[in-house]
Amino acid sequence: MESLESASFEPLRVSDRLARKALRNTKERVIEALLFAAAGVSVLTTVGIVWVLVSESYHFFTVVPIWSFLTDTMWTPLFADAHYGILPLLAGTLTTSLVAVVVAIPLGTTIAIYLSEFARPAVREAVKPFLELLGGIPSIVYGYFALIVVIPLLQLLIPGLPGFNMLGAGIVMGIAIIPYVSSLAEDAMRAVPMSMREGSYAMGGTKFQTAVRVVIPAALSGILSAYILGVSRAVGETMIVAVAAGMQPNFTMNPMEPAQTISAYIVQVALGDLPHGSIGYQSIFAAGLSLMLMTLLLNVAGHFVRRRYREAY
């Protein structure tokens, strides 16, 4: 017994060891708490966003009945005959997004299929950085491009097209979101196991048949989430529409017309200086809240799509 205790190999006595352990534990705890706090910041951000949007909108909705906000077809909060109908902004947002999606989804999907199923690896590696760069270009630059290049071109093709219109803005926005769609869709397709493709090729399928009939259905959930992400980008995109779509809350779904989107309204107002607390100031938060709800809806939809079409391979 005696010999056992003295033969301790640990250079420290037990009490020292305990002290060290306690110290270590405190340090570990403190660090963990700090890291947790850092993770909590993201939650605080969300709380902050919701709090700002809801509290300012709350004041807004004490003045403006929700019903008229949702049904009025005019949005003139800053003018004498003030109307607070979100519909024109909503129509603008949806129309520009729709144009963008009509451009981005077919092109993005085609590119994704081409890169994932057709292109040689060398081509894929060479082209992908280009697409990434396309996705990295600031949206103000796209706005400039829409205004200076694309809309004048469109006016040549379509006589009578106004100088600001949703078509031009939407097309450029579509190009801007192609990379999001194509890279996510391609990732989804590449995640389809080779055995699935081999099954189709072994039946005598061509690349196109394999891609369309086997790979796409198998990657459907990933592809759909890519689409949803694209839509959600389009809905929230600001500078392109602010610069090129016109700044007029115009209740129309005709892409040939100028209109304002929710996000563009917010920047427009922010360009001036509305006094803190005025109804105009609050109106941008009400608009922001609508925008946030739309993207939230898309996020939730994405979540369910991923659930519903979870890859079973």
Partner: protein, 289 residues
């Protein structure tokens, strides 16, 4: 030359020269001999390279019509490589190279000829993989797939062929009432039979099986083996298996491979009971591998 047709009498494979001179000689021979069936396909001095690495070394091997030929050998010996060469699966990946020939009878086409479209080869030869790989579609669409890519649109033709194929794969009874359910809802064994039905629907001349039961439980395995037993009446089968009992149970002929070479080929019974080569014997008795 006799060696090919008479695996039971002589050792191993024919010499390179014997096949090179008369590509379809064994076919003729096969027909001429009473105890071997006609040849449906044959590898002739077939070598294969994954980039620099030579995975198969001058393989010469006949596959007899409407019989089951099993490929056995330790892991990595090149069984899958040989099987997959038979429907040009290696074409899907860059850097692979074929040498020699694999001929399909009766038309004596060299499957590996660059002028032969791999799609044509694959339309004639079906393949069933190690892991069941049904498409993410309904049961019906899985079976109809091969017909659809051949351009068949008539619903009634499809219906008929799908039923026939499912019956052929001994799956009809189990799925007849739920053809529109997703294929993933089936059990592993059912999925594998579905993959077989998928091949049968297009009437392939040869069916390739790559360890078709290694991902399955014993009951599912038994049902697949039984199915293979029935299929041999209609179609030529080449099967890779690492389970020697299975090879013994289902095959008529067996080829033993080692390190990319064909060591011995013969009637299954004979090869298992009385192998000519010592390596084969070591492997079969479990002393090695």
């Amino acid at each position: 030359m006799r060696s090919i047709d008479r695996p039971d009498r002589q050792a191993a494979t024919p010499t390179a020269a014997s096949v090179a001179g008369a590509p379809n000689a064994h076919a003729r021979d096969a027909r001429s001999l009473p105890d071997t069936p006609p040849v449906k396909a044959a590898a002739e001095n077939f070598s294969f390279y994954y980039g620099q690495f030579q995975a198969l070394k001058s393989i010469t091997l006949p596959v007899y019509e409407k019989h089951v030929t099993a490929l056995i050998g330790p892991s990595g010996c090149g069984k899958s490589t040989l099987l997959r060469a038979c429907n040009r699966m290696h074409d899907l990946y860059p850097g692979n190279r074929y040498e020699g020939a694999i001929r399909l009878l009766p038309d004596n086409t060299n499957l590996l000829d660059p002028a032969v479209d791999p799609i044509e080869v694959r339309m004639r030869i079906g393949m069933v993989f190690q892991k069941p790989n049904p498409f993410p579609k309904s049961i019906y669409e899985n079976v109809a797939y091969g017909l659809r890519i051949r351009g068949e649109k008539s619903r009634s033709v499809l219906d008929g062929r799908v039923e026939e194929a499912l019956k052929g794969a001994a799956l009809w009874a189990e799925v007849a009432h739920r053809l529109n359910e997703p294929a993933f809802a089936l059990s592993g064994g059912q999925q594998q039979r579905l993959c077989i039905a998928r091949c049968l629907a297009t009437d392939p001349e040869v069916l390739l099986f790559d360890e078709p039961t290694s991902a399955l439980d014993p009951i599912a395995t038994a049902s697949i083996e039984e199915l293979i037993d029935q299929l041999r009446q209609k179609v030529t089968i080449l099967i890779v298996t690492h389970n020697m009992q299975q090879a013994a149970r289902v095959s008529d002929f067996t080829a033993y491979m080692y390190l990319g070479e064909l060591i011995e080929f013969g009637r299954t019974r004979q090869l298992f009971v009385n192998p000519v080569r010592r390596e084969t014997e070591d492997y079969i008795t479990g002393r090695f591998g």
